[in-house]
Subunit: 267 residues, 2 copies
Amino acid sequence: MQQNKITTINEEEMSLFLNYLSDKASEISLKYFRSNFTINNKSTDIFNPVTNVDIEIEKLLRNEIKKKYPNFGILGEEIKSTSDLSDIHFVIDPIDGTKAFIAGVPVWTTLIALNNGDIPIMGIADQPYIGERYIGSPKGSFLIRNGNVIKITSKDNKDLKNAVLSCTDPAMFENDDLDVFLKLRREVSYSRYGLDALSYCLLASGYIDLIVETNIEPYDIQALIPIIKASNGYISTWNNEDPSNGGKIIAACSEELFLHAQEILIS
Amino acid sequence: MQQNKITTINEEEMSLFLNYLSDKASEISLKYFRSNFTINNKSTDIFNPVTNVDIEIEKLLRNEIKKKYPNFGILGEEIKSTSDLSDIHFVIDPIDGTKAFIAGVPVWTTLIALNNGDIPIMGIADQPYIGERYIGSPKGSFLIRNGNVIKITSKDNKDLKNAVLSCTDPAMFENDDLDVFLKLRREVSYSRYGLDALSYCLLASGYIDLIVETNIEPYDIQALIPIIKASNGYISTWNNEDPSNGGKIIAACSEELFLHAQEILIS
């Protein structure tokens, strides 16, 4: 209903709430990480796991949001619901990197974004086992660790030859996409794999220069967009369309590096 | 000189000394991680980096060893020396995963092994940023974290279909090796990349089932052998020769899984 549209967001209040949600989520994820949990496969042809931990965290976050902001919509990975996404809403990935979670590798994150109905304007990526929480908003991008809040910025690199390229698994690319990814890989300094959303946080922190991925869902990427943007990084689709919708994503530490990568990928 | 051969090792004393060396190394690595350090390329054709951090740690460890055990040999990654490796000696990789270190990814480790002149009998893999130290000896394999010492054991899995496969980068394989690696990858549940030595620690902890790598150096693997063996895991070369010399390595959570992987890899 257009007349109920919420037009202003109190950023301070919302930042506190996103941190509160991350604290609550981490209580569950840390309880189960490297302990007993159940795994189900969401797909029949590939291993696309979901655990009871994903479900429990998403349920908890949905409940907390409904209690405090009953009019806000929610888009989550694991639970379908009919929210109005044209107004303010939250976007949740309870465990990004479920395969890493299952394999005991502490590079999974809980992702929570606040979308104003148009774009994600605030996002958190939380890795509680390592103790790293990344938050991005129009105020800037920050790493919170051991009680310290550290401003982060992406690297000032425009040169593919010196770039560190990352993607979660090169096997995500098929056919022509694989060919152009491998072409790009030959142009960069070296590659890092297996990092899921944490890779975007390391780009925002000035360590990784370039991320190229495909088959990204909105809940995989929305929390990361404010983190990348406020760190001076650049994020878009291969065709330079709105990355909030997912699909084929390029994140780069500079627009120039994005353009160099794009030239190879859409050649 | 054969008459000077040291024939007994006090395991308790050595365990304390390896922990002491790891503490000293971590003071250096944590000081530089995600901070300023210098990077040089050891190769002309590929990016094979070494940093001042690798060199400083190896120098420090060599000095500490020479002070306390002047008769013991040392094999390290970064500094050449003419040690007698037929008697008791230490094997050091100051930063295993230098690329991860440079890219700000906290999955690099400092590796220190004690070799009795025949096999590595004790090993430590230390990741101080996450706060995980893995130690293996004839007494067992343990994870030390936050002051807790936790016994670890590998998974009881004999089945490739349910196995999690890991290697640092599938691009390490070429030609026929790549073909058989990809054949193996199609048989397992899923793959994880980018973990360097930490992957072997996660196998010893019961999370990763199978690791297949190539071009492994003795200093990359010797600290991990006691950790894998005492966790009930199995480690050998593709041809089932002594893994201490490096080369092509298979580590598996069980001998049966090793044999299944080997059958595909040397077909």
